[in-house]
Symmetry: D2
Subunit: 338 residues, 4 copies
């Protein structure tokens, strides 16, 4: 960390900051410029210091962090890419994994039908929500355990591993009995109670970026799970909230190369939420693969106009099959496969 003193900081103020740094067990490196004195804080554990400790001291103008505040999620921690294996499907390899299925599990028939259709098109993981975070208390909230059972049955019939969302610490055990991957939704990216419990699980976690989560915060949230002992974390870009209203969210394509550079964890793209409108899902899915995503999550519904949630962004099985064919070409163009 670097502490920039004000231009007229008194010697006593500089001394106090220096003392405080040393008290916390760090070494200092003092640089007196013409305009400002700058205090470098030296020590291996920069991620343990809070900037605000110094920002309130008299004479301090600003602090700047030199190292990232996360550790296990960073490239420095692991030079090689983390590969997560789920039911025989490795995620984070040359082969791009496509997770597909409906927003919500609506009935046994519906999820079984969708599972067979997405498998036929080439998906290798089945998604489906049983516990649904809905902005209105009056909306359908998911089938709960019943939905989990139908998902498990779909897995049995198709061989596809399943991913489903867990919204609360209360449900981790129950969801864990059925799912192959725990999904943490955007609204829970900073639900630290939940992240801590998932750090104790031995199943992979699919962590979605919050609607206004920075890339650094996403990695800090991953760090919660990693620090808890669970090394199987996937990072998902699903669109962020901006001023633009032509689409439901703004898919941050830049986040894909940034995450690949800064972290060793697999990166997943969710163009369904990233756009919010089915007609833009295909171009953005292709873009995500071109930019280097390791996996995609795509909402597919047998009849979007009848969907109980997120119909507007769901592909029909036909459109999904067409997209898979197109994605194979893009994957090949970037030296990967689907």
């Amino acid at each position: 960390m670097i502490i920039v003193m004000k231009s007229h900081a008194a010697p006593k103020e500089i001394e106090d900051v220096v003392k405080r740094v040393e008290e916390l067990g760090y070494k200092i490196h003092l640089s007196r410029g013409e305009a400002r004195t700058i205090i470098g804080v030296i020590g291996a554990d920069e991620h343990l210091i809070a900037n605000s400790t110094f920002e309130v001291m008299d004479g301090v103008e600003r602090t700047m962090r030199v190292m990232q505040p996360y550790k296990m999620a960073s490239r420095d921690f692991s030079a090689s890419d983390t590969v997560i294996e789920v039911g025989g499907v490795p995620i984070g390899c040359k082969r791009i994994v496509v997770m597909a299925g409906p927003c919500s599990v609506e009935s046994r028939e519906m999820i079984l039908e969708t599972a067979h259709l997405v498998k036929a098109a080439g998906a290798t993981v089945l998604r489906g929500g049983a516990f649904k975070p809905r902005s209105s208390p009056y909306s359908f909230q998911g089938l709960g355990e019943e939905g989990l059972k139908y998902l498990a049955e779909a897995r049995e019939q198709t061989g596809l591993p399943i991913i489903t969302e867990v919204m609360s610490t209360d449900d981790v055990e129950l969801v864990g009995e059925y799912t192959d991957i725990f999904q943490v939704g955007a609204r829970n990216m900073q639900n630290y109670s939940l992240l801590k419990v998932l750090g104790k699980q031995r199943k992979p976690v699919f962590l979605k970026r919050g609607m206004s989560g920075t890339i650094q915060e996403l990695l800090m949230s991953a760090e919660y799970i990693l620090a808890g002992g669970n090394m199987q974390v996937m990072l998902c870009e699903r669109g962020i909230r901006t001023y633009e209203t032509a689409t439901r969210n703004t898919f941050d394509i830049n986040a894909i190369p940034v995450l690949k550079e800064q972290s060793h964890l697999p990166v997943v793209a969710d163009p369904s939420h990233g756009t919010g409108m089915w007609q833009y899902v295909a171009p953005v899915a292709k873009a995500a693969v071109a930019a280097g995503a390791d996996a995609l999550m795509i909402e597919v519904h047998p009849n979007p106009a009848r969907a109980w949630s997120d119909g507007a962004q769901s592909l029909t099985p036909e459109r999904f099959a067409k997209l898979m064919a197109d994605l194979r070409l893009i994957a090949a163009a970037v030296g990967r496969e689907i």
Copy 2:
């Protein structure tokens, strides 16, 4: 809801939409303009329909909601302002309530000292965190139940009711044994599992706006608690995330009159998080009172430079006392008191 058809929508497409509306139990009102056909959906329960149901239908260009998607939180539900009484302190009245205290309860001595100081300066509710949402897993996470006990002791000594954050459904019962008001933090504004449990409690809930929560979403989250049966909800503006980095958050002063217009619930301003820097807390606190806030939440720490969290935005007790004196003048200027 209004459904705008595409300019070249086929008669069959229009017919299908009309059928679907009727199937859902609503009446329709058809308007054939020169360029577009528009279908009005008529019924008292507009907040129950999802836009996406229609947005995926062939020939539909767009849908527009006529009524707000919340009901009990709206002004239409209650013309008079809701007043919440906590330990003899009414919130939502002429007298502006000031909730003050440290970000975290750090020790018994520290919270007792702060409680006496903020009371002396005129605060009427004591705040302090025992369970802390921290972006880093390596940061201090709060004293937990020990912190709650110290808060209760501070209440006993000073007579100030207390407010403290609850982060997880697991902790609602425990926190409820001690606190007078449940605080829901910005990161949990859309933690629906938590909101549902709080809807079953019989203690007031202080609901913070999420970092990128819209005003409408804040009201929808309040609706979750209200619909659960708990009518004692306060809404807190605490700054939103924007592109500006000169301050930690951008305090949305507009939200105060908007919330007062659209809802009957008391509105609280948190200039500490709203700015993130102690030197801007006083001007923004005054602004919030001038704009019509019913209450303020302000972080006060006996020694901000030693604070275990949020030191940069905490006032010293002296600065807080000075601010309270200034706020009394502003309150009087807008026909209120502190």
Copy 3:
């Protein structure tokens, strides 16, 4: 336009709105719902009415626009894609056009060298700034006319048509003597004086989206040029300003399919500004092609570390040549060529 009246709007208030609509020459369509009266405004020229005219009338709750506020820029105006031909290079066709070159023209040698290098790698248009918008008055402001002359010489030597920025109405004539395409920078997207003058020119205009411009505003700015009589407008997505600071801007990949759907004008992607960091330019350039962009603009500098502006986002000629090879594969995968 649709006018939603308040729930308790008086009959007189409704009547006044109706009168006002008729006075402006539109027909009305009245719908009395259970909760709200809704007034539809019918007429071919909805883009001519301002919402605010009605929003201030007593009893009005809200207005909603049915049609887009632009006309000539919309798909309704032209079903077929506009193709712009510049020096023998058609833009908006199967072949994706790559415009490359330095941020600023720094010297004769430098622009000639770069021109030959980008041509060799496959670029078909040469970019280079002679008039530079710089956030600091102390930064290099461009070579002015001298720079334009060097660009013209580079065109002569390589046969590449050139594009360069025009910042002010004062410079339109001068820049027009040299350039093949007028570039309007992000900061000038809503410089209406400039747009009006460009509407009178007979050379193509390359219009960049403003840092916080919505897609609709970008199309409205294009409308200024089109309405002036110049039908040769290209739309450029170059990254928008969001809360994310890991990259200089957030490239809005969604904007590409949205613009292709809503407008007939060619769409260009600028991944150099869209990311602001050279190491992310290649993945985002590939993504843009995968998503359907008609052209790319890419900053290339013979020695980025010595660049007088935007060095951090410039590719070396070697990296650019490598990128062009990769882009050819992506283009083929989406049925296009480079």
Copy 4:
């Protein structure tokens, strides 16, 4: 400036950066931490170096600026507040200045009527647009010179100095013949050609923050005018663009104390654009005064429902008179007057 090297930067890479710094005429200060080498760049003219010069060098991870990139606009340049006198009205003093009038000058009668009404209510500067930046080419674009003449006549009748917008370098001379203050609109905050010309004028400039302008960028734009030799610049907060759609813009109340801390220039608040809806103008105007604004700009129209522009955010003369009375109380509460 501080240059942070990558963790595995080679000695040669460090050496190259050091050489480059010295070549540019700065001294260096090297600090070898356990994890990173950090290079401090020492010299009085940090605002002259571009970060990107170093960010592209091999082995460099990041650069951080120590000093602000502006100089004459900063508090360091002038400890005392700048006071600007316009037609006998000092701006930046104890007395808060209120500039009021219509968005556009619509006719002679209308501006004369409004001028008398706002003067009677206590306004001390008259505003009114003759050249109007409108997002649609089909909207009313202002009366041009005719409007300027009516404004001048209003000044003659009332004694109020006038402020009006200049949109283009072409119009500076003409507008300067009539106006007392040049207004630069939000869309032109980074129209550097215009700022340079205004730096040569000898009349005050009222500079509005761009819709997505940072506080630092606003000060950099002011620097353009100051560096040109015109020291009479006012800074105006007028709301920024965020994801919130309940109001037209988000008024950044924090910007007021930040600007007062970082700059010596007078700070003006524009709650009309800052909210975009007349019913929120009064609370936000009061908030701005409570937060320390030196002046207010408020749109007043004799008949907002008939306004040719911005009717939705204009106050009637009656509402404006009521607001002025309320503002006097707030001003007194913060030790100022109106």
